[in-house]
Symmetry: C2
Subunit: 346 residues, 2 copies
DNA sequence: TGCTAGCACTCTATCTCTCTGAGTGCTAAT
DNA sequence: ATTAGCACTCAGAGAGATAGAGTGCTAGCA
């Protein structure tokens, strides 16, 4: 695999990515940094095709990269692609405005910005929040027999849930319950909460059991709610405009977005590019719903530990050299912003 | 407009709705309850066409209803269409399960069920919540310089927001602030909250002003958040499978769902059917983004007063006789369930 | 040995032409 | 008022024909 062949591969990818048409030998010969004739290029292309890096839609058409071609391109031809400095600044200013942004908010803006910029779908999941612990449980009366349970974790997640009881609680009961919950749940990891544990809680309440068990039930549901990994998807509609993706597939993905969860969770460190063809070969039960698509995943960290993943789903024909730096930027940015916060708090 | 012509119109609509093909005179003559020859039907159809109720895609094709044809059909030919009793029961059981369902939850299940059943997009908005009043404001310390504001309205809406202060509050400050807020805000209608009012609040706090103003700011944002009418849209993807709707239009709608808000808010009482062609004629700045579509809107009530609207957006070629009873059912069901709750509470 | 010019060949996309059949409108008969 | 019959229209499918982009191969050149 000499240098010229790599340059030709890169040229085919670049050209195809921008035009969407199969690339012929003449078009490549016309490029300024290629100084051989089209015949030579034809020979090289034939070799690249034998290596499985290029393919022809039909005999008399130009060449198109295969997913292996893209892989090699990403690996060898675009190392160190960077976001221009002014673009970085433009994006930075987008985040400057609101210092009080929550992690959810950051993920929302990042995915929607990524989707907008790349014209792809952008996805994110938080890491399994099993290690965060309960930092506060509060029960607040809000109306006749109506109570709100407030659950707050060390990771700063807040959720509430309304509960209706059979009877009103008096102050003593309320105080007992709040104290009871704080005693038993403060500092407990979400992953340690089990139905059994809640059963034990209910029995441990003794005389209050009957009255308060709906609240415990509510609390259990709330904790389950918090345990759930949240999948954020933005810009799926962008995919509808790519002709190389089947509308059918996109609709299927819209209807059943969760199928990408295992893929997102499996990814190793760094930026990872996957292709649907590839995935289908390794793992016949199609987790990758959309044919001819690729998925690029990176992770964001909170104080050095993976806190979630951010990715792009788009057609295989994608401007990787442009898109990957953006993804790198956003994961880095989110990591900084949420870690900064944590610093700030402790 | 004699009875036979109406029957022919109905037959064309029914046939076209099921097959999607223009309907010819022979097809109608073959129907059991039509006992005239195809030539007679041709004559009648020509009249219906002159009246603007039917049209031909091209000279040698069958007839297709115009939106005015659908209108007349809905008005004259399908009065009293009802949901079969067993279907009602099936749906009833869907709601039976969870008595603790919130209004939001009900809207979610109703729109997704409607979307599923009708294969259209289902939409809902709550009525402007300007009349609900604040029933509780709470400030809860949750970490170093970190506070959660909890806002609850008489309508049972609960929202929280995290706020970070410059300094920690001591107990006295916290108590003062809670009492202060309760005094000034309890029973105040959301629509009366204005930036000016919050400014006054801040100045009225006197010495506490500097410390607490971020909380007041947070509270203001929270109240704005609650004032927002929430648009729920479900099943837009269903529209992608209708060939008579342009993908382009659907994508535009997905990107900018809010444009239907004014339409939803304008509707009068009862079930209302609107057609994009119609709307475009009356109101050239296209609020109805999707061409060839129709929108059916009904309202749900809470204790007799309109509490929100529920609607379906689909192609003009829609089985109105099937869909409208479903919409009626769901609006009625939601009205009952949320009103029941209100009874229960007061 | 590596590169290039030239040429015959392949194959898709596009255009035109024709043909078929569904459906109509009109007229004359019942 | 209804119907049978007939000529007419027009979209859509199918069949060639054509153009042009791109290839592989061969022979010649540095």
């Amino acid at each position: 695999m000499d240098d010229r062949k790599l340059r030709i591969l890169a040229a085919v990818v670049d050209e195809y990515v921008t035009t969407g048409e199969p690339v012929g030998s003449k078009a490549i010969a016309a490029l300024p940094d290629i100084n051989v004739s089209s015949a030579t290029i034809r020979n090289d292309m034939a070799v690249l095709e034998q290596l499985g890096l290029l393919e022809q839609p039909h005999t008399s058409a130009g060449r198109v990269p295969t997913f292996q071609g893209y892989k090699l391109y990403i690996e060898k031809c675009m190392s160190g692609a960077q976001l221009p400095e002014d673009e970085k600044q433009r994006l930075d200013s987008m985040f400057d405005g609101d210092g009080a942004l929550t992690e959810d908010g950051l993920i929302q803006s990042a995915t929607s910005a990524l989707a907008e910029i790349t014209k792809c779908a952008a996805v994110a999941v938080n890491a399994m929040p099993q290690f965060s612990v309960i930092s506060k449980v509060e029960v607040i009366p809000t109306g006749k027999r109506l109570y709100v349970i407030l659950l707050i974790t060390s990771a700063g997640n807040i959720k509430n849930k309304a509960c209706r009881l059979e009877f009103d609680l008096n102050d003593e009961q309320l105080q007992f319950f709040t104290a009871f919950l704080t005693e038993h749940l403060h500092g407990v990891s979400l992953s340690d909460l089990s139905p059994e544990m809640f059963d034990q809680l209910v029995t441990a309440m003794g005389a209050y059991m009957a009255t308060l068990s709906p609240l415990v039930q509510g609390l259990y549901e709330l904790s389950r709610d918090m345990m759930r990994q949240e999948l954020t998807v933005n810009g799926t509609r962008n995919l509808l405009t790519c002709q190389e993706l089947k509308t059918q597939d996109i609709v299927e993905f819209m209807e059943n977005q969760d199928v990408i969860m295992p893929i997102l969770n499996d990814t190793f460190s760094g930026i990872h590019v996957m292709f649907s063809e590839d995935a289908r070969r390794e793992n016949p039960q199609q987790t990758f719903v959309i044919g001819n698509s690729s998925m690029i995943v990176g992770q964001y960290r909170k104080d050095g530990r993976t806190a979630g993943r951010l990715g792009i789903i788009g057609p295989m024909r994608l401007n990787y050299a442009k898109v990957i730096p953006y993804l790198e930027y956003f994961t880095e940015k989110i990591s900084n912003l949420i870690s900064e916060k944590e610093d700030d708090e402790t």
